[in-house]
Amino acid sequence: MIYDVLIIGGGVTGCCIARTLSKYDIKIALLEKEADIASGTTKANSGVVHAGYASQREYLKRDMCIKGNKMYTQAAEELKFPFQRIGSFVVALEDNQIKDLEEERNNGIQDGILGLELILDKTKIKHMEPNLTDDVVGVLHASSAGIVSPYEMTFALAENAAMNGVNFFRNHKVNRIRHQDYIFELKTQQGVFKARNVINAAGLFASKISKMVGLDYFDIMPRKGEYILFDRNAMHLNKILFPTATKVSKGILVCPTAHGNTFVGPNAQNISDKKDTTTTEAGLKEILEGARKLVPNLPNRASIRNFAGLRAIPNTYDFIIDNTDVYGFINVAGILSPGLTSCYAIAERVTEYLELLGVNMKPNEKYNPNRPKPERFKNFSKEELDQKIRKDPTWGRIICRCETIPEKEILDAIHAPVGAINVDGVKFRCRPGMGRCQGGFCRPRVMEILSRELNIPYQDITKKSEDSYFLVSKTKDELLKKSESGEAE
């Protein structure tokens, strides 16, 4: 079987391209090296849909961001992922920063960004965001900025793409690519995949994949960003809060998530190891200190998790979206911030490239842009809830106490197209273990459900990768082993 298009990488970029291309009557597959999609940069970022004023004007990423932002409304409607346009503040704490904000606003308006407003009235600012520091002198308000759950959006994209005929292969790491007679042969441990066109959306490892076809013209550096997440009840923010930016990064944010938690972060640390997602004592301190400049009364005692993500920084500091010299090989690399915002615009551009490459982009007659809305216990009225449980009792068995997640939502997460196969997969799809107890009560129950539904022994259920096992043996096994070898008394 020869695919028309093979996509390497199941992050938000790869999945968005897959879903966009599923509108056409072509054969598509996506290969992901990890046990699940949305496992890399997609899983650990700020989840901010930027308005687009922040990047320098000569960069492609600015253009993609401004376009991509506008495409979110329709995407969220079709795919039913958590997305809210709550608006952002860039906060000036000193008078001399106001002119930077003015410039950003003026350039932004010229470039077609709607809803940009410079606010200097402190009373009005504090009314809009009461948690903000009293030291504020002005803000650039961008009403088109929003918050999204990046991984839930990616799961939604994959689900919808799969509904429309895209094949997903997880745990499929591409080790080698052969290119002969306009056919690419991608070698994985599980076999060889053939395609006429390849899209390289391998994130941090995009340069490695590109080199496999002899294209060695860019580098990707990992830049670490650390975060601290607070309990949902600890603080309620109305706005995404940025400090006035420096050249290196947009600075440390204080921001709500799409589920109403507050987080602080990220810092920006250039590192060399593309797998180093450790948080550090110094980093956590740095982000707390940075965040306190914007919001002095952070709920420190209500932190529930710290984590770090790696941004894929290209040496060009701009998106690399290229129809390359290797005919049929498209690089979608170096998708740094605002990559999440830009993904729909990027996918559109990739579609145009495929047309240029002569792929027969006939519409897929069966294409359905609408993903069924995931049903959530929390959204039901009491009457609806009662009826739901009567029809399906798994609605009435609460597995996660902190987030009130019933068994039914977990079953849906497992049985959805490209569904959950491990504990983190369930957690990121429907939130058991995301709350303040961090899975303390629900984890054994989630493991039990995964074991039953996927027919995997309880002991073999993992957290994320194959090596992230939870249990080593049944009790007494160790003792029996020792007594057999004569070690025990």
């Binding site: 601290i228 997440l229 009840n233 997602t277 450790t278 948080t279 550090t280 004592e281 980093g283 956590l284 005692r301 932190s303 529930i304 998790r305 710290n306 984590f307 009491k382 809830l385 009662d386 009826q387 449980i389 009567r390 009792p393 798994t394 609605w395 009435g396 068995r397 609460i398 106490r401 902190c402 009130t404 019933p406 068994e407 303040r436 107890c437 961090q438 303390g440 009560f441 984890r443 054994p444 309880y458 002991q459 993992t462 957290k463 994320k464 990768s465 194959e466 090596d467 992230s468 096992y469 939870f470 249990l471 080593v472 043996s473 049944k474 009790t475 096994d477 160790e478 003792l479 025990a488």
Partner: protein
């Protein structure tokens, strides 16, 4: 929608809920228990070690045995209960909504509610340990559940952070299973659990206890491969250069318990600084007719103490229904109870002036250990109204004081009682 009616609804069927329900039923009132787990008994069911019941029954029982004594009474008294049922809402007018998979949505109307939801363990996020986020990090209670209830071992080689009681008990339990516990690491200069557990669970098994140290980094991307630990100063700052690596495949956390009060907040009640609801001397929260007892109110050292507090709550609820319910609310004048020097938190948070001539039980924990101290009560004008000597105080042991305020000369004009722990003024040479 299925609906139930009762005089008293008890939320939680652990040690606290069972004892409180029994007390209410014995007084002839109609009581209903709602429990989220599949059986009665609560967390004591996974505590298969001994040491329970010395106070309550004057004999030594295991956790499940202790629970069974109360379960038997519940059955004998025919107290109705619903299992596998989650309370999802307590409205401000005391309507309770719950769900389970057999009856669907359940509505309960009750004259009074006893909150007995217990507590939960602090997690890694709550103490912000840096490093990777691999599998193999469990709270001590979660590991206890895997080993004692599910019958699985979560790892072979352990480091335990925190010397809470469950952590120390699990150190012994895992050693019995043939596992290696390389160290129990405690950030404070002293053990945070009970002395008897330090002796019986660590010392008796030669398990190293490393105090004034904490875990500073978690190693291993997929499954934990080890931890870095470092010495801390008096102010809990890491001492540079003291870091060392311990290889392990599992990290257990026994770093404290937090009362579980999401429902309490939803009902509109106010919480105090220990995470439990603000209560008066009747264990009534700031919402009339809603009472709290057990670990949801304050984390206790021993289950026997939970039981005695729950019995007290049960009796007070009976009194509420018989004498106060449905009567015009009498505006109670209250004496505020305030934590002073070396008091971490205290219960009750206020005393009704009408109860001044009855025994009031004060419970509190200290912030730091001290020896040869005086427990002192002062009024709002700083006048000392009560003094008692104590040989030592430590944070791991809750102090209980029974005081009749009128007998010690407290007048109803008093507005505030501040409790404090101070060193004894006499300069004495320590005798060994």
């Amino acid at each position: 929608m299925k609906s139930y009616k009762a005089d008293v609804l008890v939320i939680g069927a652990g040690a606290a809920g069972l004892a409180a329900a029994i007390e209410v039923k014995k007084a002839g009132l109609k009581v209903l228990i709602i429990e989220r787990d599949k059986e009665l008994g609560g967390i004591t069911l996974q505590c298969i070690h001994n040491g329970f019941g010395l106070k309550e029954f004057e004999e030594e029982l295991t956790g499940p045995e202790y629970a069974q004594r109360f379960i038997n009474q519940v059955l004998d008294l025919k107290i109705p209960y619903i299992l596998d049922t989650m309370v999802i809402e307590i409205t401000r007018d005391k309507k309770i909504y719950a769900v389970n998979n057999k009856e669907g949505l359940i509505e309960v109307s009750a004259k009074a509610i006893i909150l007995a939801m217990g507590c939960r363990e602090k997690t890694r996020g709550a103490i912000n340990i840096p490093g990777f986020r691999p599998a193999g990090i469990y709270t001590a209670g979660q590991a206890q559940r895997f080993v004692n209830i599910e019958g699985y071992l979560p790892g072979n080689t352990y480091v335990i952070l925190g010397s809470g009681d469950i952590g120390m008990i699990m150190a012994r339990r895992l050693t019995w299973e043939g596992c290696t516990v390389k160290a129990v690491v405690e950030i404070q200069p002293y053990v945070s659990g009970l002395l008897r557990n330090q002796v019986q669970c660590l010392e008796d098994y030669d398990i190293p206890l490393i105090t004034s140290y904490t875990v500073t980094k978690i190693h291993g991307r997929d499954r934990i491969q080890g931890v870095s630990i470092a010495k801390v100063s008096k102010d809990y700052d890491r001492i540079i250069g003291s870091e060392r690596f311990i290889e392990c495949d599992t990290l257990l956390l026994s770093v404290g318990l937090i009362p579980e009060n999401e429902l309490t907040l939803q009902a509109g009640a106010t919480l105090s600084n220990n995470g439990g609801p603000l209560v008066d001397n009747n264990l009534e929260t700031t919402i009339e007719g809603i009472f709290a007892c057990g670990n949801v109110l304050q984390v206790h050292d021993l289950v026997d103490m939970v039981t005695s507090e729950a019995k007290r709550a049960g009796k007070n609820v009976v009194d509420y229904i018989q004498n106060r319910y449905d009567k015009p609310i009498k505006k109670e004048e209250k004496i505020k109870c305030v934590a002073g020097e070396n008091i971490n938190y205290l219960k009750p948070n206020n005393v009704n002036k009408s109860d001044i001539d009855s025994k009031i039980i004060f419970n509190f924990r200290v912030t730091y250990p001290d020896r040869r101290v005086i427990i002192q009560f002062r009024d709002e004008n700083n006048k000392v109204i009560f003094k008692r000597k104590k040989v030592y105080v430590i944070p791991s042991e809750m102090v209980e004081l029974e005081v009749n305020l009128k007998e010690i000369g407290v007048e109803t004009t008093i507005k505030e009682i501040r409790i404090e722990i101070i060193p004894r003024p006499e300069v004495l040479i320590e005798e060994d």
